[in-house]
């Protein structure tokens, strides 16, 4: 049997908890709203001061610097982050100088050496967005946490020294896809400083690392990767990923040798590589390949037929002519795919 008094106690206890919880929740809401309004006002004032400081003919006034300094750091940092993304050149230099003056740069650098990953991440984010070069980036590229490594890769793009590029290339084999993606993207945006190191890197690599590098190279389409593209185009791995990436690269580089190699690759068994080679020939608008591509409209695999038809269309007049012939021809599979591709509106490539 349960005492009735126990029930009263439980009832009173639960009632009390509910009242306290509701009061806390509502008061917390009021506090959050007030804080949000205050922060909004401070941000507006801070934005106005920063805008004056960064105006093309604006002079740095002590008053504006003081007004930004008077803002809490939790407001200063998002303000600088927000503005960093939208300015470049002299304005960005002024912003960096101001961040140094306010001690935000040294604070972020301290955070980059913290034992806690969220702080390292925050520090790296601030410095990356500000484009502040520092040797710290090298250690962060080898950080334990993939998000920090990814952020460091973004940061490294702002100061691509040979050591930094070498460290970034090592990350192309990173098992964490996030940092691999960030490195590929940063290398691509870096362009010139990474071309030769990437080419040298690809000479001695294979597997995942080579594939990640090849994809970057393919997106650049730079002629310095020509030999590498030819080398990997002989990669007969069953999934054909490396050969496919090399086909994209060859198509981007162009030239007779690349076209001949792509033509040879259209006979590959690995579907991915074969399709990439077909697309490559289309991308190069290599009209001498049109008859070969037209023959592939009867290929037993749908994806190959589809790629060949699209490539013919991309080639232009000779390709379209062959597509029309195929549409009227006896082969049903070729006629169907030719009709589909000829029907596509111009906007769809």
């Amino acid at each position: 049997m349960i005492e009735a008094s126990l029930l009263d106690w439980v009832l009173a206890g639960e009632g009390g908890i509910v009242i306290v919880a509701v009061a806390f929740y509502l008061l917390h809401g009021v506090w959050l709203q007030r804080r949000s309004l205050e922060e909004q006002a401070l941000r507006t004032a801070g934005r106005a001061s920063l805008a004056r400081l960064l105006a093309p003919n604006g002079a740095v006034t002590a008053h504006d610097v003081a007004s930004i300094r008077s803002l809490p750091v939790r407001i200063q940092i998002p303000l600088f982050n927000e503005l960093s993304k939208n300015v470049a050149g002299a304005q960005k230099s002024t912003l960096r100088e101001l961040a140094r003056t306010l001690g935000l740069v040294s604070r972020a650098k301290r955070e980059c050496t913290s034992r806690r990953w969220p702080r390292r991440l925050r520090g790296a984010r601030f410095l990356a967005q500000l484009g502040e070069p520092d040797a710290l980036v090298l250690s962060l590229l080898r950080d334990r946490h993939p998000a920090v490594r990814a952020q460091a890769a973004e940061w490294a793009g702002t100061d691509p020294s040979p050591e930094v590029v070498a460290a970034m290339l090592e990350l192309l084999a990173d098992p964490a896809t996030l940092s691999r993606f960030a490195v590929q993207d940063a290398l691509l945006r870096m362009a010139e400083p990474m071309m030769v190191p990437l080419a040298e890197y690809l000479v001695v690599r294979e597997g995942t690392a080579a594939l990640a590098g090849l994809r970057v190279a393919a997106a650049t389409g730079d002629g310095r990767f020509h030999e590498i593209a030819l080398h990997f185009s002989h990669d007969m791995a069953p999934d054909g990923e490396a050969a496919a990436a090399s086909a994209e690269l060859l198509a981007a580089i162009g030239g007779a040798e690349a076209a001949n190699r792509l033509l040879a690759m259209t006979t590959f068994d690995a579907e991915r590589a074969q399709i990439a080679a077909i697309r490559g020939l289309g991308r190069m608008r290599h009209w001498p390949a049109a008859s070969r591509l037209a023959a592939m409209l009867e290929h037993p695999r749908w994806k190959v037929r589809h790629a060949a038809a699209l490539a013919l269309r991309t080639i232009g007049a000779p390709g379209v002519l062959l597509l029309r012939r195929a549409r009227a021809g006896e082969s049903v599979s070729a006629a169907e795919i030719a009709r589909l591709v000829l029907d596509l509106p111009d906007a769809v490539r």
Binding site: V18, Y25, G29, L188, V216, W302, L340
Partner: protein
């Protein structure tokens, strides 16, 4: 004689109530564990995304390509606006495949007129068998838009058709009535970049009722004043913010909402696409993907990300809501039965030993045990076999624990995304939280029991779904695909 029968009944009732009490404590203990796990996961997630800049993801040539699959059935009134919102999502490498599933209204005409469509010869590689495709259209103005007109075959069939046409590395399955926030896809893609073994990711679904919607976007978030919709807001917050988020750390999710989920296209195609013969096709696909990943030794991580948000319209009357819950329970029962080989099977790792048993013992059987407990208490009280004070204490404890869990979810929401900011919204949220266990919960138990019973009797229909529509004053009634 009757005295001895009563004595036996009393003993049986005490045993049964003890079992219910033990079950109740175990389940709530597990809920608390989920809540702690969710809080830790939320903290990690907030730290990870604080100050994050996603412009690289949006603009990079290295980002994965995404195809959105949007089935449409009799959506003439809203399809143009919904599709424009999809085409305006902030993700560069995006393709939208809209599948008209044999609509009987003017859906196809609206699409043709609004998006400058041109019919192209409808040949394609039928990787997954579907109902016949009547026509294929491409747009002269939106290169990333593919419109497929097919014979009616249901949602799963429409999604499979979309899969046959999609070109993206990742596919996002949507319900026709879902509104995705502009940056929803960017956010949902992140798990695929964070972990190479990810094959599916899901985002949070929130209730749009009461909020302001314009041009297919939620402009201002509010908690609905309608009790039925309001109670579902609280329920959805709890389900997504602590239910699914908590599982991220405790063995992975077994549900990705069919209204908003991103999948590896290769993984779905290898698994054979969506099943037609179940009402829980979204859950069935996820469980199958998970099962196959163990059996084939392939990647199979399923992640829940709390910040990508999609909005859905909740039923505002008990009849429609009851039908929905009935269907969900039938779907759950069907999926768990189909994949029963996973139950407590070490071959399926954490999924087989923890996640799957949780869904069976808690999600599937909870209404049975809860109903059993309530009936036992009533019978016990009627025959004077159970102390009324015990019954009251039991109920108060249940109410207190249930309300505390929901309240803690509100705190989690407050400390993370803080979507409901006005005093009115907060008062409403508190009100719905306090009221949820006073009748609404018991009603959901009844609907779920009904669902189980229907499943046992072999019912497989979806049931009609009445919707008010997102546009103010608009009132339409349309069945889900």
């Amino acid at each position: 004689m009757s005295q001895s029968y009563l004595g036996l009944l009393g003993q049986a009732l005490v045993q049964a109530e003890s079992f219910v009490l033990f079950y109740f404590i175990a389940v709530n203990g597990f809920y608390l564990l989920l809540l702690v796990s969710a809080a830790l996961e939320m903290r990690r997630h907030v730290l990870l995304i604080e100050g994050e800049s996603r412009w690289r993801l949006i603009s990079s040539a290295m980002s994965p390509t995404v195809s959105i699959l949007a089935p449409a059935y009799n959506e003439a009134a809203t399809v143009a606006e919904s599709l424009r919102a999809l085409l305006a999502l902030h993700y560069a490498r995006l393709e939208v495949v809209i599948v008209n599933d044999g609509s009987k209204d003017a859906t196809m005409d609206v699409l043709r007129d609004s998006f400058d469509l041109v019919a192209v010869h409808a040949v394609f590689e039928q990787v997954i068998a579907t109902k016949p495709v009547r026509a294929l259209y491409r747009s002269r103005t939106y290169p990333g838009l593919v419109v497929v007109d097919k014979e009616n075959g249901g949602k799963a069939d429409a999604l499979n058709t979309g899969l046959n046409f999609a070109q993206g590395e990742l596919v996002c399955a949507l319900d026709a009535d879902t509104l995705i926030e502009a940056d929803g896809i960017q956010r949902l893609v992140r798990p695929f970049l964070h972990a190479p073994r990810t094959i599916a990711s899901g985002g949070t679904i929130r209730i749009v009722n009461g909020s302001e919607v314009s041009q297919g976007r939620v402009m201002r978030t509010h908690v609905p004043a309608n009790a039925i919709a309001g109670l579902q807001v609280v329920e959805y917050l709890r389900a997504f913010l602590f239910g699914r988020l908590g599982w991220n750390r405790l063995g992975g999710n077994l549900i990705i909402s069919g209204a908003f989920g991103l999948f590896s296209r290769d993984a779905i195609l290898k698994a054979g696409g969506y099943r037609h013969d179940t009402v829980g096709e979204d859950m069935e696909l996820v469980v199958r993907l998970k099962r196959l990943s163990y059996e084939r030794g392939e990647p199979g991580d399923i992640a829940f990300v709390p910040d990508p948000v999609a909005w859905t319209e909740a039923p505002e009357n008990l009849r429609t809501l009851g039908r929905q819950r009935d269907r969900w329970q039938r779907g759950l029962a069907d999926v768990l039965w189909r994949h029963r080989a996973m139950f407590l099977n070490p071959r399926y790792g954490v999924t087989g030993l923890i996640v799957f048993p949780y869904y069976v013992l808690v999600e599937l059987f909870a209404p049975v045990i809860e109903a059993f407990g309530v009936i036992g208490l009533v019978v016990g009280l009627a025959f004077g076999l159970v102390d009324w004070a015990f019954a009251a204490l039991f109920y108060l404890t249940a109410y207190g624990l249930g309300t505390t869990l929901t309240a803690l979810t509100l705190v989690l929401e407050d400390l993370s995304f803080h979507r409901y900011s006005t005093l009115r919204d907060r008062l409403l949220l508190v009100g719905w939280t306090l009221l949820e266990n006073l009748g609404y919960r018991q009603l959901t138990v009844w609907w779920r029991l009904r669902g189980l019973w229907s499943y046992l009797r072999g019912r497989k229909q979806w049931g009609a779904m009445e919707r008010r529509g997102f546009v103010a004053k608009a009132s339409s009634s349309k069945p889900l695909v």
